[in-house]
């Protein structure tokens, strides 16, 4: 149910990573497997919105870095998710 873009941003919040590293990291911390197409679809959209940027690399694997705007957006989204999760869990406890 989580937006792939959010997962990619969360992964890059730790450090710069290339596609395969992002895929592995997301699977480790969330248990969600991002398919190659979905991952690069999310990377494309995030780069278009300037929430991440590609770093120069001589290798075939190109690393990405989260931008300041990307961090701001990630924080807002995670806070909303956090509030939603708290309310949802609280309501579930009352049943």
């Amino acid at each position: 149910m989580l937006d792939p873009s959010l997962l990619v941003l969360s992964s890059l919040a730790e450090c710069d990573k290339h596609g395969y590293a992002i895929m592995m990291d997301v699977e480790t911390f969330s248990g969600i497997h991002l398919g190659p197409g979905t991952l690069y679809g999310a990377i494309t959209r995030l780069e278009e919105r300037k929430w991440i940027r590609a770093l120069d690399s001589d290798e075939r694997r190109r690393p990405y870095r989260i931008t300041a705007e990307g961090r701001k957006h990630l924080k807002e989204q995670l806070l909303t998710l956090d509030r939603t999760a708290k309310v949802g869990l609280d309501r579930l406890r009352r049943i």
């Binding site: 596609g19 395969y20 895929m23 497997h33 398919g35 190659p36 679809g41 494309t44 075939r60 694997r61």
Partner: protein, 258 residues
């Protein structure tokens, strides 16, 4: 599986491949691909296509097809249709009318010679005849004739005849001529059945009936599919065609880039 994924990359827009192809291929080489990943690569390729030039190209084809359908509806002559119904009851008890008999009878009534006579008599398809394409005129005429039979009882048959033409007058006259031909054939069939029953005494009963229960109606506008439905269908078909053309073009450009 790698080969399949490489082939699926052709779905991705050229501009996207220019930017991401190298690193995306590297990721595909690094990852242990499952069938779910292959489907994922396919799905994302289709989404990217739909959100780039593909939608535009398909839309252009769709609108072109819609415009063509609209123009065809606007300029196509309205066909007029006349129809008649014949009722036939056999005079021979226990000898049912069969679909095969009706098929033969219909073929005789629509024989090349008979249709050619009708075409001459009512001056149908003058353009084709002027070009000496009499056979084409007969084929066209056959396409405009509808004859169907149903059997309310084993010994009786109801035959519906209709003919459509751009002229309401011609539609009526031709339907009348066709009905006459069919009734003649029914009478002939009746006579041959009667002769056959002579071999088996006691099977002939009262006289049979060949009756025109609905004379040829005056030519009326034939029922046609609603324009909105036709135009919508053309739009859908055009979109599909546009999608195929766009995918083939993408495939060719991806192929030439490799």
């Amino acid at each position: 599986m790698k080969t399949l994924v490489n082939w699926l990359l052709r779905l991705y827009p050229r501009s996207w491949l220019d930017r991401y192809e190298t690193e995306f291929r590297t990721l595909l080489d690094d990852a242990m691909l499952s069938w779910i990943d292959v489907i994922d690569v396919f799905k994302e390729g289709v989404i990217m296509r739909l959100t780039t030039g593909l939608a535009l190209q398909s839309g252009a084809f769709g609108f072109a097809a819609m415009a063509l359908a609209g123009a065809a509806l606007w300029f196509a002559p309205a066909p007029y249709e006349s129809h008649a119904v014949i009722y036939t009851r056999s005079a021979i008890l226990g000898v049912p009318k069969t679909p095969d008999q009706m098929r033969v009878l219909t073929q005789r009534a629509m024989s090349e010679k008979r249709l050619a006579n009708i075409i001459d008599e009512f001056d149908l398809y003058p353009d084709l005849r002027a070009k000496g394409e009499s056979e084409k005129a007969i084929t066209t005429m056959r396409g405009n004739i509808r004859i169907s039979s149903r059997f309310p009882r084993p010994e009786s048959v109801v035959t519906s005849v209709s003919f459509s033409d751009a002229s309401p007058d011609a539609a009526t006259k031709v339907t009348k001529a066709l009905v006459t031909g069919l009734m003649d054939e029914h009478v002939r069939l009746e006579e041959s059945d009667r002769e056959a029953s002579g071999i088996l005494p006691g099977r002939a009963s009262a006289t049979g009936t060949v009756e025109l229960i609905l004379p040829a109606s005056s030519g009326e506008l034939a029922a046609r599919p609603k324009p909105a439905i036709l135009v919508s269908l053309a739009l859908v078909e055009g979109l599909q065609l546009g999608l195929i053309v766009a995918l083939l073009r993408g495939r060719r450009s991806a192929g030439s880039a490799q």
